[in-house]
Symmetry: C3
């Protein structure tokens, strides 16, 4: 049954991604980012390049007001200090109350136990989507990142699971997209994954189907990365070129370059 329903969707994904991207540009959604200090600047620039409007405060006293006025929320665990942890809980409560989509990026959750435990308490609050790599999935879901485990975890958590790597796999438990775009040089730039998750948050702000929004965001980001790598001379110029590529990414490029199954 999945094959019957998902095949037409998958082949139409590049076109849908172009639609979602153009909605981001025309509606300029506000995306509030709780992200680590390493990633803040690049993440804000990726959102601005895509046409969204970032805000980044982490102060517990004002986070609720910022989230209330935002169209989507990103929670990234990259740097994990007390104030940010408190603020994340306030922010997620506000997003839930206001029915704003929020996305979790459980960075380095495999590297320290307090991080794993905290990420699990956040998963229980039902993010619309989660973006992580294989090691992070294993730590947070207590399972190997096989396709069945991803689907099961998506169904259990009622969240879209986006496992990124050489191939990005996006599933809501029923549907599954495999995105084969991107370039290895993207892994040589810090905060590249974090910034991709922020783009997913911007897509969630303008598209009600979280599986489509997540797939579209990761597809657009991976293709922008490919375009950037084609012009870059190394990781320094890649980080510059991907912002330029994202700002000028059009439907034609998306359709021509997409390798999705």
């Amino acid at each position: 049954m999945h094959a019957l329903t998902s095949t037409p969707l998958i082949s139409g994904l590049p076109d849908i991604a172009a639609d979602i991207l153009s909605r981001v540009r025309s509606r300029s959604p506000r995306v509030h980012c709780m992200t680590n200090a390493v990633a803040q600047n690049f993440t804000a620039n990726v959102l601005l390049a895509a046409g969204a409007v970032p805000s980044m405060t982490v102060a517990p006293e004002e986070i609720a007001e910022f989230v209330a006025r935002a169209d989507a929320l990103l929670v990234n665990l990259g740097t994990f200090d007390r104030e940010r942890r408190d603020a994340a809980e306030v922010a997620i409560e506000e997003a839930t109350d206001e029915q704003r989509p929020w996305v979790l990026d459980p960075v380095f959750v495999d590297r320290s136990r307090p991080r794993t435990e905290f990420a699990k308490t956040l998963m229980a609050k039902t993010p619309r989507a989660v973006r992580l790599n294989g090691a992070e999935f294993a730590a947070i879901a207590d399972a190997d990142p096989a396709e069945d485990a991803l689907k099961r975890y998506a169904l259990d958590q009622l969240s879209v699971i986006a496992l990124t790597g050489v191939t990005d796999t996006v599933t809501d438990g029923a549907r599954m997209a495999k995105i084969e775009n991107g370039d290895p040089l993207m892994g040589r730039v810090t905060a590249m994954g974090c910034a991709g998750t922020a783009l997913v948050a911007a897509c969630l702000a303008v598209e009600a189907d979280p599986w489509l929004a997540t797939s579209a965001g990761l597809l657009a980001f991976a293709i922008a990365g490919e375009c950037a790598a084609a012009r870059a001379r190394g990781p320094g110029s890649l980080a510059v070129e991907i912002l330029d590529a994202l700002a000028s990414l059009d439907r034609e490029t998306l359709l021509m370059r997409a390798r999705v199954r």
Copy 2:
């Protein structure tokens, strides 16, 4: 009367801006920046590109010593945590005691009430200049950003008011400059405004007339942005090019490109 006194000053502004910029390069003023984590790196690079020397600590225990040895202070509210707020008050007290110029950038003051209230208490401490956009002015001054309201607020606060947007308006209540340089692509790079305010702080360090210093800083920044946009392929390359443009900005380019009235 204003027309009589201000017209010759306005037409001479590009030349004066070139003088001020070359003083920044020869004197290398130290500018202490209390700014948000998103903006810190780009702000430091803008100051270095212009020939100033940035320092960025926000720790309350040592901020007074840094400000005492600095030639100007920038206070930006971008990320608004407890430690930064305490440190801002200490820093401003030190700057006032040492008669160092300081400039306020009340970022996002229209987005949360605690921010508005805090910004008003800082305005009461008489910054030499304030840089803000229309929404921020409305929140902090409880008035629409019309020319008369800007002048009145400048006179009330004894501060230069710099309202930035498509046109930048700089007034001390008596004189008013309207700067029409800049490029829309500058709005697609995070911390661009914050970094422009830091350049104003550097100009205040070498020029006693705060209206001239503020106008010069914003004019030089907007023209560097134009030069950068002429070479950039998007927001990523713009952020790189503006640093190169600022480092090589000369009198000829300032005179040729300035659109001030």
Copy 3:
């Protein structure tokens, strides 16, 4: 005696630096960086460009776990808040227990007394290497940065002392290298020195002789800076180009460009 033993080492240094750099690329050492918010992004990108894997958390609760899984530790005093100071002590204790090399970058230690005092307590914990400029050396060692004072301090502290400036001087008290590579434009980019120290940490992770590792890291960084300056149009493009140059730096370039005595 030093002349007899050190001359052959010095002339062989570029070749040894190439070996160490290729070990960084093949082993991908994890480098945990406690560094200031201004430098975090650029430092992470320098490490990734060189082939190392950075992590950056400063939260006291989890820093020990990150250091335990890292191959080297960088402690930079750039922004000096309470939480970072506590975390630095925990991190250094863990590195010492696990016999991981750590390197100190006592940024701005000459600008505030609490910073000087704190840096001295860290020196007493015997970093494998320290990177600083003349003013910072004077503050921390209570001596002018003459060659004899550097050697004496290195012997007293049992640390490699790397004094950077127009010429970089690296000594362990017995051996001394003077590196004359680099470009003045590097001083116009924020966090350039901090990022160079991070590269030293990566080299310490793969080379047991701390004098060789420190000299190799600084030599490679200075030569990458020269290559970058040859292509850059100003400080903005230099920061991009140095990442590209570091990622592609090869033995031939190191041997051809090295000016070491």
